[in-house]
């Protein structure tokens, strides 16, 4: 793209762009909203009767509401006189819903009172005569209609023209780009056709350094596929940061009946929207993280294999930490949410020891489990076996706080925590928690309370990964499993001819790797219980000459994975590494199943991007694989994914 001066700091650029973004609020709506708010308290004070603005607009008693009347009518005059500064808004609202009309508010007022007032205002408006623009709805329905009439909401003609211009610029610029500075795959993407590419790519990639990778059998790289020649660059990296929201964004988009735009849902984020059962660090392991890897045949290509790298963090008992008393208040009405909570707790409690204790209360404060040693994890989890929703968890919270306070007083030197989990409705945060940290976890779709009042933390938990993170950080006060974690994969050119990271857009999302391992501070914190999953599609160096699936890549390792991190509470970094042997496809059945599921998710992600290099493998195959490899799936999220794949298939018009 041609951006003349990319600012050094993206945050500065964002600040500037954000400063310019908001339009001035519509004066009419502003006056109306304020008038309506005033009418909410006016009857008591006698300062202003409820239908203040409506009456003021009808000309009744201007002396009693000079300000709002002036504002409202001034606004109307202004709107009537000025041309609409945003032509595309009219265009977007092709249903005739663009001109602002301060008199019509009915669409959005929440309560019946608001609706009544709105209706009155509308009844009054026509009396103002012909100068009033045609009535327009500003309600949610209307905004939805506006949005729907322009399917993507932000693809205006201007945008399309801009995109076309940009494409022209790219096409013009591509041939004059100096070759040495442009990586091979970028050139492939820029020049956009593969007939001219193969020779150029061959000449650009001296393969002399590759011990056993003759260039001849290499198939041409599909443009933009993100493939890398191992001989050219053997090191790759990926992010360890949690990537939330991809799945819900995708669900929303599909629910609107829209096939997501390419790149809207990065495969990397989609894969990591699921928590996988990768091997966890053992109970007496020194490291808080564990690396694992396995290989499976690529579902969509018999010539390649999928390398899965998994990282899982665990909570580690911190030396010298005071004993902890945890009071858990459970107000859960569904099995799925119980399973979420159990999964999170199971992981988080690994950070606790025999000196810590846990008690469980029900929604009304009834004791489900008196304080027991945190070493009895099974007993605690068994208490959370059946749903017990209450009418309100407020009592449970008060009882929990009282119990935590008592336990803390009984055992001097201990710290106390209260965690309340609800899938019904979260109570309000207590005004004073007596210095006891309180976490309110809303499971599933639970509305979060107004965090304005009270002490504590409120978190929404809608996935096993989120449950693990929320619980572990509630327990350990934000202590992470490891800080500044960075990962790097080095492929062996002797066994791997090409690889590609099944990530964001296949165009270089894996470029974070180079040099990252050496420089401190470039990594991210890994929370206890967090899993990170990365998939690479690799082409064995000996494949491509007619040998099909399962072709043995030969002896020797495929790759070496290095993970550098600083353990919580230590400043010095440590390095752990894992050799991935060519035969990493055997052994752990659970890991293989999980890898297959991850492959289904990644493949789905690639299909969403409209990639055509998956051959005949399509949505139906992705859904089938997702169902076959879902495993126990206590939260039902994996079954959901299969359903989403079906929806996407229907929307894409592909045969099921």
């Amino acid at each position: 793209m041609t951006r003349p001066d990319p600012p050094a700091d993206p945050l500065a650029r964002l600040r500037a762009a954000l400063a310019a973004a908001p339009p001035a609020p519509e004066p009419g709506r502003r006056a109306r909203a304020i008038a309506e708010a005033l009418s909410g308290i006016a009857p008591d004070s006698g300062a202003r009767p409820p239908a203040a603005a409506a009456e003021a607009q009808s000309g009744g008693d201007p002396a009693r509401a000079p300000a709002s009347d002036r504002q409202a009518s001034g606004a109307q005059r202004g709107e009537a006189a000025l041309p609409d500064p945003s032509p595309s808004r009219r265009a977007a609202g092709s249903g005739g819903a663009a001109a602002p009309d301060p008199a019509d508010q009915a669409g959005t007022a929440e309560g019946a009172a608001g609706r009544r007032r709105g209706a009155r205002a509308r009844a009054v408006a026509p009396g103002r005569g012909g100068e009033v623009p045609p009535p327009v709805r500003h309600g949610r329905l209307a905004s939805a209609r506006r949005r729907l009439s322009w399917p993507r909401g932000r693809r205006s003609p201007a945008f399309l023209i801009g995109a076309a211009l940009a494409a022209v610029v790219v096409i013009c610029v591509a041939p004059i780009l100096p070759p040495p500075e442009v990586p091979a795959e970028m050139r492939l993407a820029l020049s956009g056709g593969d007939s001219t590419l193969t020779p150029r790519q061959k000449s650009a990639l001296p393969l002399a350094g590759a011990p056993s990778a003759p260039p001849a059998p290499l198939a041409p790289l599909p443009p933009g596929s993100g493939q890398r020649q191992t001989a050219e660059r053997r090191v790759s990296g990926f992010t360890l940061a949690p990537q939330d929201g991809a799945l819900s964004r995708l669900r929303d988009t599909l629910a609107r009946g829209v096939f997501p735009a390419p790149g809207a849902v990065p495969a990397e984020a989609l894969v990591n929207a699921f928590a996988y059962d990768w091997p966890a660090p053992g109970p007496d392991a020194e490291a808080p993280l564990r690396l694992s890897a396995s290989m499976i045949p690529t579902p969509w290509n018999p010539e390649t294999r999928l390398l899965r790298i998994g990282i899982r963090g665990t909570a580690v008992p911190l030396p010298g930490r005071p004993p902890l008393v945890l009071v858990l208040v459970a107000d859960l009405g569904s099995e799925e949410d119980l399973a979420l909570l159990r999964a999170g707790l199971d992981e988080a409690m690994r950070g606790l020891g025999a000196q810590d204790s846990v008690a469980v209360l029900g929604p009304s404060g009834e004791t489900l489990l008196p304080a027991v040693s945190a070493a009895e994890r099974g007993r605690v989890l068994a208490t959370l076996a059946e749903p017990r929703p209450g009418p309100s968890a407020q009592e449970g919270l008060s009882a929990g706080l009282a119990l935590a306070d008592r336990l803390r007083a009984d055992h001097p030197g201990t710290e106390a925590r209260v965690i309340l989990a609800s899938d019904v409705a979260l109570p309000r945060l207590p005004q004073s928690a007596r210095g006891i940290p309180v976490s309110l976890l809303g499971l599933g779709d639970t509305p979060l309370p107004d965090a304005a009042a009270g002490e504590g933390v409120v978190a929404l938990v809608d996935s096993p990964a989120a449950a693990r993170r929320a619980l572990a950080s509630s327990l350990a006060d934000g202590v992470t499993a490891a800080r500044d974690a960075r990962v790097q994969v080095e492929f062996n050119p002797a066994t791997v001819a090409r690889y590609r990271y099944l990530g964001g857009d296949g165009r270089g999302s894996d470029s974070r790797g180079s040099g990252l391992l050496e420089q401190a501070g470039g990594g991210v914190s890994v929370d206890p219980g967090h899993t990170v999953t990365a998939l690479y599609e690799i082409t064995p160096a000996t494949a491509g000459s007619g040998r099909g699936a399962g072709a043995d890549a030969g002896a020797g390792d495929v790759a070496m994975v290095r993970l550098r991190y600083s353990p919580a509470g230590e400043s010095e970094s440590r390095l752990m590494s894992l050799d991935v042997p060519a035969a990493a496809g055997s052994g752990d059945a659970i890991a293989l199943r999980e890898t297959r599921f991850a492959a289904a998710v990644a493949g789905f992600g690639l299909l969403l991007e409209g990639r055509h290099d998956l051959g005949a493998w399509g949505f139906a195959e992705a859904a089938a694989l997702a169902r076959a490899a879902a495993g126990p799936d206590p939260s039902g999220r994996r079954a959901d994914l299969a359903a989403l794949i079906d929806t996407a298939a229907a929307l894409s018009g592909a045969p099921q």
């Binding site: 964002l14 954000l18 304020i34």
Partner: protein, 179 residues
């Protein structure tokens, strides 16, 4: 001299309509701006602020003058915006992205279409939590500590979120260059 926010809020809580009116006049634009920067859509932002205005007399009862009024108000807007997004999501009507046709058209008229497009891509790439943080720190020019107070988070979390935003934007820029 104008009375300060706390005086007005306290009076408004007691049912003084004039005080509430003054308070809303003073802060309406701020609420709208914040709502817009989080939701990325004018109609939604206006709906949002209207709802907040309607509910404010009731909410003021919970205002304790312990935090600064604007901090409290920011929290109210943030919570309302979260509710708004959640409701929109369950009704399957919300666009997941940030931005709208009107925004681009306006930007085009002002000769900053490129930045506007970049902004839409950038904001769409951010999770709601990051968007909120960005709207407060970059949009409202708050310090990390002020934003932390409004978000009910620790200052460290806000700083971490911003570094996360920086990382995401760098990635975006890299993809853009490669595109």
């Amino acid at each position: 001299m104008d009375p300060d926010d706390d005086t007005l809020a306290t009076a408004a809580r007691e049912g003084d309509a004039a005080a509430l009116g003054a308070l809303l006049e003073r802060h309406y634009d701020r609420m709208f701006r914040l709502g817009y920067r989080i939701l990325g859509n004018r109609a939604d932002a206006e709906d949002l602020v209207q709802e907040i205005c309607l509910a404010l007399p009731r909410r003021l009862v919970g205002y304790r003058a312990e935090a600064r009024f604007t901090t409290w108000l920011h929290r109210v807007v943030l919570n309302a915006a979260r509710d708004h997004m959640r409701r929109a999501a369950t009704r399957a009507k919300a666009s997941a992205g940030w931005g709208e046709a009107e925004h681009l058209a306006r930007a085009e008229a002002e000769g900053r279409a490129e930045e506007a497009r970049w902004l839409e891509a950038a904001m769409s790439a951010l999770s709601p939590a990051l968007r909120e943080t960005v709207a407060l720190v970059l949009g409202e020019d708050m310090t990390h500590a002020e934003a932390a107070a409004a978000l009910g988070l620790s200052e460290g979390t806000v700083s971490w979120r911003l570094s996360e935003v920086r990382r995401l934007l760098r990635d975006l820029a890299r993809e853009e260059e490669t595109a």
